[in-house]
């Protein structure tokens, strides 16, 4: 049997580039072929995609704020004050 040019160990190092559209045509084809016959790598790819999606801002905005990094009341009021002031000039 001809040895495939892409193994699972290669794929896991190239998945991110594939998601970026940054692989050469040859590597991309090899990766996509590999995924078509390798269930483990298919799952790996989907997990990577799911993880990347799961941390997108729309999804984690509230978690970010809840992590104790919300603007302090002092910062907030100082900034609102400055904002107001910048618009009260005639």
């Amino acid at each position: 049997m001809r040895k495939p040019d892409m193994r699972c160990t290669d794929l896991v190092e190239e998945v991110s580039d594939w998601l970026e559209g940054g692989l050469s045509d040859d590597r991309r084809q090899l990766l996509e072929e590999h995924v078509s016959f390798c269930p483990g790598c298919c799952v790996y790819l989907e997990q990577t995609r799911a993880a990347v999606h799961a941390i997108s801002f729309d999804i984690v905005a509230d978690d970010l704020a809840a992590g104790g990094d919300a603007p302090s009341p002092a910062m907030r009021s100082a900034l609102l004050e400055a904002f107001r002031a910048s618009h009260s000039i005639d």
Binding site: E20, E46, I55, V60, P71, A78, F83
Partner: protein, 269 residues
Amino acid sequence: MRPEFVTTQIVSLILLTNARSDSGSSWAHVSPATNEHAAGHRVLGATLPTLTTDLRTPDEQQVIAALRAGDELAFATLVDQYTPSMLRVARMYVATKEAAEDVVQETWLGVIRGIEAFEGRSTLKTWMFRILVNRAQTRGERDSRTTPFSSLSTSSVDAGEHEPAVDPSRFVENGRWTGWWSQPPSAKHLPEAHVLGAESGTLLLAAVDALPDSQKIVITLRDIHGLTSEEVCDLLRISEVNQRVLLHRARAKVRGALEDYMNDGGGNA
């Protein structure tokens, strides 16, 4: 019972999704597969959200217009939304939490001063982060703090210590199947699309927080905030190669955290 293996139909659906993407992280919409296998593999055939890197959406235009019109609620909302991320990024450059707060406050003042003249050549978001990183760098240098990249030379990121994306013991190490999975990820450990559960966001952000600064800042700007690779390279003054390597390593770790979470029974709503 969820089958372990995927059909080539589902796989080609996934491949079709990404085959259409150009450089930059954009995914086309994939409509759910309608065949029998779809029920068991719903997660793989599910609709993926469209992620665009061009954020000059109507929403952003509305925000800019509102700020220019003096809309305090719009400004307060923006401050509430972005301050957490800004603090986290600033904290990678400066020595103390207080210094990070100073930097973020200065950033917002810069936004207030600059919004009128903002030309929209980049997205609002990119522009804000650029102000932030510039101020953070300046403050960091002033406080003699090392930056997220000071310990990395170009060569050490490119060629240096190989940091495997996956524990090597999960692959076959001898014989004709060398390099293939011996402990593959299981389809049981795929989150149902859209149903990751309330804890997952916090958990994955914790995984991001645990990353080395250089990886953390890249994945934060690229994957959390959707800045393009060009914008991030420009903003952080790193090469495309460095950026790709850092992003790859960061994503590998976050994927691992997701797998562990699923393995521990998470993500089942």
